[in-house]
């Protein structure tokens, strides 16, 4: 019971945390681009847009930071047995994340936010880039740690049965990490672009600040098109890597109970799950699964039943099949929405190219609503990755069921889970209120600022930022 609740808590808090992380990483990068454009062109529109989207970024970062603290603490709080077992390997990237990324991100965010009047234009621009790089670095270190749970490398087990690091370089070139990191960064860029596009489209439809928001829509589309196009092939590559190291994960994602060769791809099915091995196929596309999973026309995929037998022979009796329903649908939500976003992005690119973006009412209307899709895709992606690793907490080394803290009772976790859920609802409501308010508020303030006459230096009192 305590174990199940701890899993619920970790899943809930990390999914929630990851609503904000990709927005931060994506928007920080895009705001840095806008500010670079301002630095280069001196066009005041870019300054306004930097401040406008910078505010949205900050509203987001606030929640990203505090929910990140929970993640950092939860390893020890809920998963003490796991922490003792993996700390010698897993702890190092976490500590490096703090030293190399969090300090950079938070210090320069402070400098950027409060430094508009204090720093030279050039140094101030450097600050936002430091924030963007810091946020990407932090994703790098946490992905190194996470990838080790998916595919442990560079370690040995000591006499006490604990994992001990033997080769740190192996962590950095772990194929699960390399492709997983590319996947997360691209997902973050896609998220940031879709947020920026949605806000810009909202204004363009209302014909308010058209020139300024046309620029941001353009920046968003120009980053979105390559990002989503590359993302689809990176995701595919990551699937192949996972098929090599965690075949259960991919077999479950395809609900492939028995080995096949060649394998057809199930586009949609009714039913299915760990207790329903013969769901009704709606559409099955011949050979497609072979191509996706192995990169060949007639490649074979090992089925869940066969993998289960292999795992039992290797690790002893037990159930090694992850939740098939979650795997199957999270894979499809991610892939189908990804394809939808690609088509949509290309449509936007074509409108941009032919100069009709501003008058394309349908496209602009859809852009606003499409902002939901990255959050669904990101959540589905993590469900696929983490639920697909079960029953292992560290693939092949430690099971989740053996990893929680012995001293933390089910009652303790009930209390903490309820407290976090309530706090997250309050924080989420506050965040959403401010995001919508500041998204719709327009550029009035930004205009006022940039038209204010220059003040004399010695009477200058900067406005209060907070």
């Amino acid at each position: 019971m305590a174990n199940d609740l701890a899993r619920w808590q970790f899943a809930t808090t990390s999914i929630y945390h990851f609503f904000f992380v990709p927005v931060t990483i994506g928007l920080a990068f895009l705001v840095a681009i806008l500010q670079t454009a301002w630095y280069r062109t001196d066009n005041p529109d870019y300054r306004r847009m930097t401040r406008f989207f910078g505010t949205l970024l900050l509203i987001n970062v606030a929640i990203g930071v505090v929910t990140g603290l929970v993640q950092e603490f939860e390893f020890g709080m809920n998963w003490a047995t796991y922490s003792r077992f993996v700390g010698g390997v897993f702890g190092a990237p976490l500590a490096m994340e703090g030293l190399a990324a969090f300090f950079l991100e938070s210090t320069f965010l402070g400098l950027w936010l409060f430094g508009w009047d204090r720093l030279s234009k050039r140094v101030h621009l450097g600050c936002i880039w430091a924030v963007a790089i810091g946020s990407m670095l932090s994703a790098m270190f946490i992905l190194i740690a996470n990838s080790w749970m998916q595919h442990p490398v560079g370690y040995k087990l000591n006499h006490a049965g604990q994992a001990v690091l033997t080769n740190v370089w192996a962590l950095f070139v772990n194929p699960t990490f390399v492709w997983g990191y590319a996947h997360v960064i691209l997902a973050s860029l896609v998220t940031g672009c879709l947020v920026m596009l949605a806000v810009s489209a909202w204004y363009l439809r209302r014909r308010v600040h058209v020139e300024a928001f046309y620029r941001t829509a353009k920046v968003a589309l120009c980053v979105l098109i390559p990002a989503i196009a590359i993302q689809i092939s990176v995701g595919n590559q990551l699937g192949e890597i996972e098929n090599t190291y965690q075949p259960m994960k991919i077999a479950a994602a395809e609900a492939q109970w028995n080995s096949c060769k060649p394998c057809s791809f199930s586009a949609a099915q009714i039913g299915g799950g760990n207790n329903d091995k013969t769901p009704t196929q709606i559409i099955a596309i011949p050979h497609l699964l072979s191509v996706l999973a192995t990169g060949t026309w007639g490649g074979g995929v090992t089925g869940l039943n066969q993998l289960q037998a292999q795992y039992e022979a290797k690790y002893g009796p037990g159930n090694y099949v992850p939740d098939v329903f979650i795997q199957y649908w999270s894979m499809r939500v991610m892939a189908y929405l990804g394809a939808l976003v690609l088509v949509f992005a290309l449509w936007g690119g074509w409108l941009l190219q032919t100069g009709r973006l501003v008058s394309a009412r349908l496209f602009l209307w859809l852009s606003v609503w499409l902002v939901i899709t990255p959050f669904l895709m990101n959540t589905a992606g993590w469900l696929l990755t983490e639920s697909g690793r079960q029953p292992w907490i560290v693939q092949g080394l430690q099971k989740t069921v053996n990893a929680n803290s012995a001293s933390v009772s089910a009652t303790d976790v009930w209390i903490s889970l309820s407290a976090f859920v309530i706090a997250y609802i309050v924080l989420g409501a506050a965040d959403l209120t401010l995001m919508l308010r500041y998204s719709r508020r327009g550029l009035a303030e930004a205009y006022a600022e940039s038209t204010e006459p220059a003040k004399v230096a010695d009477t200058h009192v900067p406005a209060l930022t907070y």
């Binding site: 509203i59 970062v61 606030a62 929640i63 930071v65 505090v66 603290l69 950092e72 603490f73 390893f75 020890g76 709080m77 003490a80 047995t81 922490s83 003792r84 700390g87 010698g88 897993f90 702890g91 190092a92 976490l94 500590a95 490096m96 703090g98 030293l99 190399a100 969090f102 950079l104 938070s106 210090t107 402070g110 400098l111 936010l113 409060f114 430094g115 204090r118 720093l119 000591n158 604990q162 001990v164 690091l165 740190v168 803290s405 012995a406 001293s407 303790d412 209390i415 903490s416 407290a419 976090f420 924080l427 506050a430 401010l434 308010r437 500041y438 006022a448 209060l464 930022t465 907070y466």
Partner: protein, 333 residues
């Protein structure tokens, strides 16, 4: 010196750094509504720590992560023992962390009032609770041979733990008040200095009591340790200086007091990292809780590469915003 001892020192350094830096922004957060009477004054108070609080908080994250990396056993036992206390710490950190960014973003009185409470309570609760935790490290908690905590939430509230919590809360308030004296002008500065003098008196009493109790807990006789003497002298200096125009030195003194107090806990703790009140044979030590040698080497290289750079740019950030924060003239629109 062995590598795990070096890492014990590094972790102690992170905790000291955390309290010296975040200590003043806890103090400012807890006092902002008392020292700032009007809305503008409250905003001035919050803006004195504006550029830094987030970077200061990273010291806590790094302290925790460094424990995880260098002493997995310590991290695991400590964080699971303190379970419900840490839930409270996290809730308090949510409230204050979000309030900085959100408080000023709506004109509504209710909105601002709510975040003022979150900032005040959150800022007071965190140093208190973490202080209790640090005191418990030294005092000892019921821990069995598997290094698992066997008590419940109320076993965390040891007398010495609570004393340490109160000491660190009081020192944080003093540190926040001297910081506000250093960073503001006019009436709000006068009020901050008055508060620092009054809190300083309380802090002297609390610090003396803490020093005596620590001697009892360590059981090493009646001779105070050098760090303890330093801590008491620094508190007295901070209280005396807060009344004069030496705002800078008052702030340095309160910083030294908080550093010496946290430092003393770790000095007294070594070579243990967590004491078991069940049986001293179950103590966690720098030996039995440490990660492998190679891991520590890797971490050392990372720390040598990154830490000096971090100190440089954080120092630069303090330099950039060194001017006092004043209320802007009332806007014309």
């Amino acid at each position: 010196m062995q590598l795990h001892t070096i890492w014990f020192v590094v972790i102690a350094f992170f905790w000291v750094g955390f309290f010296v830096l975040e200590g003043f922004d806890f103090g400012v957060g807890a006092l902002h509504a008392l020292i700032g009477r009007s809305e503008t004054e409250r905003r001035v108070a919050v803006n004195t720590i504006g550029p830094w609080w987030d970077g200061n908080e990273v010291w806590l994250v790094v302290a925790g992560a460094a424990m995880f990396a260098a002493f997995p056993g310590w991290y695991a036992t400590l964080f699971s023992s303190l379970y419900l206390a840490l839930v409270l710490v996290l809730l308090a950190l949510f409230g204050r962390g979000v309030s900085f960014e959100y408080r000023g973003k709506r004109e509504s009185r209710r909105w601002r009032g709510g975040w003022t409470w979150a900032l005040t309570i959150g800022s007071a609760l965190v140093p208190l609770l973490i202080g209790v935790a640090l005191g418990d490290l030294l005092h000892g908690l019921p821990i069995n041979q598997n290094h698992d905590f066997t008590g419940d939430f109320f076993d965390l509230l040891t007398g010495y733990g609570l004393m340490t919590g109160v000491a660190l809360l009081t020192l944080s308030l003093l540190h926040g008040a001297t910081f506000l004296g250093l960073r503001t002008t006019g009436e709000i500065r006068d009020r901050a200095r008055g508060a620092a003098r009054r809190i300083g008196l309380l802090a002297i009493v609390v610090e003396l009591a803490w020093v005596v109790w620590t001697l009892v807990v360590i059981g090493g006789g009646t001779v105070p340790q050098p760090t303890q003497i330093l801590a008491v002298i620094a508190v007295i200096f901070a209280q005396r200086l807060a009344g004069t125009d030496n705002d800078g030195w008052a702030f340095v003194a309160s910083g030294v007091a908080i550093a010496a107090t946290v430092g003393e806990i770790f000095i007294a703790l070594y070579p243990n990292v967590m004491v078991s009140s069940t049986d001293h044979a179950f103590n966690l030590t720098v030996n039995n809780a440490a990660a492998g040698h190679y891991s520590l080497v890797v971490m050392t290289v990372a720390a040598v590469l990154f830490l000096p750079v971090v100190l440089l740019y954080q120092g630069w950030s303090f330099h950039v915003f060194r001017q006092r924060v004043a209320a802007p003239p009332p806007s014309r629109n």
